[in-house]
Structures are given as structure tokens and as C-alpha cells.
Symmetry: C2
Subunit: 491 residues, 2 copies
């Protein structure tokens, strides 16, 4: 009864909202947005881009020979897309290289487990190490453990990530990956093993950073673990070797531990710091006609992990945003403001490209009037969020109305933007998010399985339609929007 | 109109069939079958068996140290299941061991591909080989190729297997795996590469025999490729190194070949014959009360490939059939005929256990009155087939009527039985098939992904209910059935 009443009350409100006359965006702008959508309904430019990138370049981990091929690929394809300007901006960062891994069960049930080293893991001794496993339900349980429990042992965190459309469980679980080694080491453990931060049941473990590279304190003395870069920054390997098991292997280990609580593993992996490297952010733009100094940035990151071919993370994001910007010019339209697409270098291992962009463009960030990153796969967009104050919300509502035919709802004002945009966000650039259905994203994320066949061309087209619509309307809106983001003061 | 008429005509026929009074199986037998089904509706014995086997033994490739652990496991668990007799019967066979594999794309798009050696592949030179790839749509196209096309090249068969409930496309596609190397070698190719015989889109290639071990002619002279066993039999490695790509990697290679028709691969794998080994068929039985000399055999194979933990291939089959036989005794029932469950050794690499069983029991095969193997995963049973003549069909109909509550249809008379039963079938033992839904079977078959989490405990219970019903009714039927199988005469 209560539900029914609510539903009856709601309907007129929704109808009234939908009928609010649009006053900010001209009928002509909206007609142009609709034309863009119609033209892009059958345009597979983005799919061809991600197909080309993942096939011809393949995996492109930061600092590898494929990193340079990826930059050359982006420069060539951005030029072919007809951007007014294509520039390469240097991004310098430290490089870690993965070696072999072998984790196996000792004792009465000898067998090998499928595991992958976490990014920036330190090596075990060359012959590996053998130690008992102590299991924890989650990172909180590991944090609460006493050093007596863990001294000389392998700490194992068995928590499983749950599947959600918005990937909402990633935030709760990923700390086991990024902080687990540090916590395990502080209690005397000799290694960390986690269940993959992933939602699939494939025997393909998920990698990802085992340490937050930006988290090394400036004063940290150099050691075999902590390196001082040429610019004075510190980076460090994980405090103990750190690896993730595939979900089926984590299930297996948990079952074995029930049967054999004193179970020992042989644990052997290699990973090392190999020096510094200079890659590039690849920047393409369409110059604005009447307000060229006002810039809207979209993009994704060009690098991938060394597993998979980086189709959904984040070839799709680069392809969607590049195709959307290019489509506007191709349709004979020119926006008032400058539209810029950035293929960011090395997001995966510390957001080096995003930080370099914010540094290189510090002087013009005050004229960056909006930014959105596509870095959540290739699923359909279902919602738009905007980190703007209430006074700017009517414009967001009008943009959403134009996205409504694509089945995109109006979201909220809590838009943090993608990882590569954090420098811009902190500098006051208004953030937008076109939220993608990520139900399957963490099935594939950071695994061998991140390949082209996982992308639905129709969903990709809807993404391009949405970005083109968003860019055309924000690029021509009469007003600039402001940010509602309040940076946390540094202590 | 035509369709409607057919439907109208059909209905009364079907109804009449269903109402045919049962005359062969007594109401008491059928009530006991119904009681068995009821008791087994909540009995997870089979799941616990396959959980234990896949967890504590894990992968158990024939001739490995795990082979012996699997035999010990089966002996122990068959005894615990309460069988009247548990015996180990020796099975001697040759052993092949897999080494490392590394297949990578050379040239402008360097990248590594996920591949696995086919069983009994010969090694490449230790440093590998580098050669151009020549692609063929399917094995027929390879067979039709001229030696000029293939001399010194890598033959690549790109055909993709389609998904069917009955796995029906396997037969059409698997010849690329089992005969491709021989055909490629005959045309001067230096290696074979195939798309995995599998229906998934995971980056986990499917292994399986690259040669039909039984197909080596007795007169073949011994060589570095063809070995003479202690019993005089011949076995051979593949004529050229042979490997399978995962489906996403096969897609990738096909795309690359379109862009770069002269593409070269570096291809390196190791595989070798390492000698002979004696494993065991593990045989458990409930002795018949009034006709103990008449034997019904069910079973599965105990070995697996060296990837996965052999949950669906074929831990499930061993568990289903063992649990079904055991359940009859556990329910306080004793069949007129002897019910025997066999966990066959080394099915995967040449049906050695099945052949050894037929040899060891040659004298009593005339008294084997029926056999059925479970070796198609852990999906629900949807149909019963029986390789019996028309005079025995009414009994099959009555058995199906008892299976009907489990949603199992009446099938046909074309039942060849499982691979391990072929020796029995050739000797005139009547074959039965309880057909499982294999829609997902070839997603997992012979890959790392064949693990416990892929088994639905409810579907496994339905399998046990079906086997127990079948065994109870055939074990007590008033009549013996005959085979309808006519062996092909040896030329
Ligand atoms: Zn990403
Ligand atoms: Zn990522
Ligand atoms: Zn099998
Ligand atoms: Zn098999």
C-alpha cells in the first residue's frame, strides 16, 4: 500500500520534470545533438580503434617496448581522425618488471595454484620460500592479527569481491591488494597472498598495484626497497612479496586449509625495479570557434597491464572519447569551446600521465571548464553525474534530457572523475561522469581475459553517442559551470 | 497449418504412450525407485566425492605422482561407500610429459599468444622454430592444401566449435586436433597450430590428444617418434609439434593474418615420452542377490588432463556413478544382479583403462548385461538412449517412465556408450546412455577452468537420482536385454 502511494505520488513529479521547458540550450543545439546521435548509431569508428590498438599493439604495459608502439599508434590514429592539433607530452616514471611466479601446495595434496604477482611486488629469494599459511577473512582481520600469529608465515586474505553494476564492492576489497603487503610485513609475515579482486570464476588471477606508489613519504631513506627517482620522488617495492590467486584457486586453498590447517606453500616470484622511462600523453583537440581558450577534456588511459590486451581497460575509453570528439568535426560541427581528448600514459602504476598533464597545463587549468574520463570498460552508459553546485544543475538536467533517448538517467552531484583527472579535480576543474554498466568489468579487469571479444560493438556505439552529445552541449552551453569539489586540506 | 495438424495428430499418440500399462517392472520395483529418488533428492554424497577428489588429489594426469594418489583415493572412498568388494586392476600404459610452451608473434606487432601443447606432441628444437603461418578455415581445407603452400610453414586451422546441448559439434571439429599434425606433416609443414576445440571465450587453451595412440600400425618401425612398448604395442608422438590457441588468441591471430599475410611466429614447445607406468582401474561392486553372475557396469574415468582439477572431466562421472551404486545398498536394497562401478585409469591418452577392463574381464563379458559411462560433465540428464533391439524397447520405455519425474525424456536406440566402454560394446554388452546437458561442457573441457566451482550440486543430485533409478530397475528387470550394436568388420 505504501509502495503504491509513493508510486502514484511520484508519477506526476517525474512527468512535470520531463516537461520543464529547456531554457539554457537552444533548440538548434539540441537538434544538432540529436543528429549526432543518429549519425553515430551506425558508426563503428570506436570499435575499429580498439580493435586496431588491441590487435596491432596488444598488451602495452608502461615502460615496455609496446608502450612506445602504443604512443605511435595513438599519434597516428588521432591524426587520421582529423583533430586540429595532436601533441605528445612527455611523462617520466619508474618501471617495474614482472618475472616468473610459481606457487604450490606442499604436503599430502601437492598441486600448483594459479597466481600472479601484484604490481611492484618485490621478489622472493631466488629459490622461493616455504612457509605455513595463515588465512584471514578480510583485510580488517589481517590488520587485527597479532605478530605471534604471522611471524614467518604467509598471510592469506580470502575475501571475495561481489558483483555490482557500479563496481561498488571494489572500493571495499581493493585495500587488501594495495595495503595488504605493508600490513602483513608489519606483523612479520614473509609474503602476502590474496584472493583476486575480481568477480569471475575463471582460473585467471587479477593483477593490480600491490602498493600505492604515491604513498611513499618524501623522507624515506633509499634502500633495496625504496628508490629515489631523478626528480627526487620516492617509489618502493612492496614490503613483502605479494600475489593474487584466481578465484577457483582461492576456493581450493580455503578448502585445503580447512582440511589441513598447518598447510605449507612453496612461494616463488620475481619482480624488480628496472629504471626510469619517458612515455607520452597523446593529446588531440578540436579548437573552439568562439571560446577556444575554454577547454573540455575527455579521455582514457593508453597503457594496460602486461596481461590481456587492454580492451576494456582501457582501450575502450581511449576509443570512445577519441571517436566522440572526432565525430563532431566529421559531422561538420564546430563547438564554441575547445574539445580535447587525452590518451594518458601509465595510469595503472601510479597515475603518472594524469599527474603530468595537470603539471604541464597548470597555467590553463583555470580555463578547463569540464572533464570526464572513460575508464570502466565498454558497457552501456546508464547515468550522468556532475560535480557542480546547485546553480549549475539545470544545465546538467538539460544535457541529461538530450541523453535520455540513449537510456541515460539523471544522477547526482557526487562526481569525482576518473583517476587521471584527480589533478584537475584538485585544481577546481568541474568533473563529469558518464557511468557505465560495470557488471562484468571485474570479471576481466587486469587479467589475461581483457581482450577484444569482450566488447559489444552496439554498447560501444551508445558510449560514443553519449560522449558526443555531452561534449557538443557542454562545448556550446551559454554558461560555464563551476566545481562543487572541496579538496581535503593536506595535514 | 501443417505444423498445427502435426501437433494435433501427435498429442493422442503421446498420451497413449504415456498411458501404456507397465507390465515388465513390478509396482514394488517402481515404488522402490521412487523412494530412491526421494532419498537422493537431498543427498550430496556425489558432490562431496568430487569435492574431495578435486581438492585433495587435484589434477591427476595419467602416469604422474597424482595418478597413484587418485587410485588410493578411489580405493579408500569406494570402501567407505560400503561396496561389497573393492578391487584394483592393473593398467599399464606409456607416459608423455608436457614441458614449457611459448608461442609469439614476430614482426611489427610482437606479442605472446596463449597456447597449450596437444597431448603427445613432439618437441620443437630447443630454441624453438620461426616460420610463416598459413591459415586454413578447417581441416578439410588443410587436407586439400598443396605441399608448395606448406613447406617449411606453420599450418594453422582456425575453425571454431559451436555450442550445442549434446556437444554435437565436437565430432566435426576434433579431427583438427587428432589428425591435423599428421596431415600438416605430410605436406611439409614444420608445426601445427589450431584454434582450441572449445566453445568459451576465455584465454585458457584446450588440450587433448594430438594423435590417436591406438592408430599406430603394428608394423611401424621404431624411431625417435615411434616407441615399441614392452607388450609389443606401438605408440608415437605427433608427426610435427602441435598446439592449440585459446579462442581469443585464435581471433587475434586471424585478425593479425588479415593485416599481415606473411606473419611469422616463434613457436617453441617441449613434450616427451618418458616410459611406461602401471596404474589401476578401481572397481567397486554390490553383489547381486539372485543373479550375481549378471553384471551391470557404470563408471567414469579417474584420470584428468594436467590442467584443471578434472571436476567435470571426469571427477563428476566417477562421483555420480559411485554414489548411485552406493545409495542402493545404503537404502537397504539389494539388486538381483551385480552392480559394478569402475573408475577407469587413463582414458584421456588412449582409453587404456577401458581396454584393460575388457581384456581382464573377457571371460565374463557375455554376462555383462548393460553398461553406461558418465563422462560429459555435471549437467542435468535430459534423455535416455539404449542400444537395444526393438524387442527390448518396452523395458527401456518403462525405465524412462520412472525417470520422467526427473525430466528425462525417452531417446533412441543409437547408444554407443562412453569411450571406456568401447571394448565391452564390441564384445556385445548392451550400451545405455543417460545424456547430460553439455551446453557448457566444452567451455571448460581440457582447460585450467575445469574446477569444482563449475559444478551445480543440484544438477549432480539429479544425475545420481537418474543413475540409481536406472541401475535399480535394470538390476531387477525380469529379462536381460540384448545389444543392437553391429561391429564394423576389421578389414
Ligand atoms: Zn583503467
Ligand atoms: Zn586498470
Ligand atoms: Zn572424459
Ligand atoms: Zn577428456
Amino acid at each position: 500500500m505504501r509502495l503504491l502511494t509513493a508510486a502514484l505520488l511520484c508519477l506526476p513529479v517525474l512527468a512535470a520534470q520531463a516537461e520543464t521547458p529547456s531554457t539554457l540550450l537552444s533548440p538548434e543545439l539540441k537538434a544538432q545533438a540529436a543528429s549526432l546521435q543518429a549519425a553515430l548509431a551506425t558508426d563503428d569508428t570506436a570499435y575499429h580503434l580498439v580493435e586496431s590498438l588491441t590487435t596491432e599493439v596488444g598488451a602495452r604495459v608502461a615502460g615496455s617496448e609496446a608502450d612506445a608502439r602504443a604512443v605511435a599508434w595513438a599519434e597516428k590514429h588521432f591524426k587520421q581522425l582529423g583533430f586540429d592539433k595532436v601533441t605528445l607530452e612527455p611523462v617520466r616514471f619508474p618501471v617495474w618488471r614482472r618475472g616468473d611466479i610459481r606457487i604450490s601446495v606442499l604436503g599430502d595434496s601437492p598441486q600448483s595454484l594459479h597466481a600472479i604477482a601484484l604490481g611492484w611486488s618485490k621478489s622472493t629469494p631466488e629459490a622461493g620460500l616455504s612457509a605455513e599459511v595463515v588465512a584471514f577473512d578480510d583485510l580488517d582481520a589481517l590488520s587485527a592479527a597479532s605478530p605471534e600469529q604471522l611471524q614467518g608465515k604467509i598471510a592469506y586474505v580470502s575475501a571475495r569481491m561481489e558483483k555490482r553494476r557500479n563496481g561498488g564492492d571494489y572500493g571495499r576489497r581493493v585495500a587488501a591488494r594495495s595495503s595488504g603487503a605493508e600490513i602483513a610485513a608489519s606483523k612479520g609475515a614473509v609474503a602476502l597472498l590474496i584472493r583476486s579482486i575480481g568477480t569471475d570464476s575463471d582460473r585467471l588471477p587479477h593483477t593490480g598495484m600491490g602498493i600505492w606508489l604515491g604513498g611513499i613519504k618524501p623522507g624515506t631513506p633509499a634502500s633495496d626497497r625504496a628508490m629515489v627517482l631523478s626528480n627526487g620522488e620516492r617509489v618502493a617495492l612492496t614490503a613483502v612479496p605479494a600475489a593474487a590467486l584466481s578465484n577457483p584457486d582461492a576456493d581450493q586453498l580455503s578448502r585445503l586449509l580447512k582440511l589441513q590447517p598447518k598447510l605449507k606453500l612453496h612461494y616463488q616470484l620475481a619482480g624488480q625495479y628496472v629504471g626510469e622511462y619517458t612515455s607520452h600523453n597523446v593529446v588531440g583537440e578540436i579548437t573552439g570557434s568562439t571560446k577556444p581558450e575554454e577547454i573540455i577534456v575527455v579521455g582514457g588511459h593508453l597503457d594496460s597491464w602486461d596481461v590481456g590486451t587492454g580492451a576494456i581497460d582501457d582501450g575502450a575509453g581511449v576509443a570512445i572519447t577519441a571517436a566522440a570528439v572526432a565525430a563532431i568535426k566529421k559531422q561538420g560541427l564546430r563547438p564554441a569551446r575547445t574539445l580535447r581528448v587525452v590518451a594518458f600514459a601509465n595510469e595503472e602504476q601510479g597515475v603518472w600521465g594524469g599527474k603530468a598533464y595537470a603539471r604541464a597545463h597548470a597555467a590553463e587549468l583555470a580555463n578547463h571548464v569540464g572533464a570526464a574520463e572513460s575508464d570502466f570498460g565498454a558497457g552501456r552508459i546508464y547515468r550522468i553525474d556532475a560535480g557542480v553546485p546547485a546553480k549549475d544543475w539545470p544545465l546538467v538536467q538539460e544535457i541529461q534530457a538530450a541523453l535520455d533517448p540513449l537510456n541515460i538517467e539523471l544522477g547526482g552531484q557526487d562526481a569525482g572523475g576518473g583517476a587521471d583527472l584527480s589533478g584537475m579535480r584538485d585544481a577546481g576543474v568541474p568533473m563529469f561522469e558518464l557511468l557505465q554498466d560495470g557488471t562484468d568489468y571485474f570479471d576481466l579487469h587486469h587479467t589475461d581475459n581483457d581482450t577484444l571479444d569482450k566488447i559489444d560493438p552496439a554498447a560501444l556505439r551508445q558510449n560514443v553517442q553519449a560522449y558526443a552529445t555531452f561534449l557538443w552541449l557542454l562545448g556550446n552551453a551559454p554558461q560555464r559551470v563551476q566545481t562543487n569539489f572541496v579538496p581535503t586540506p593536506t595535514p
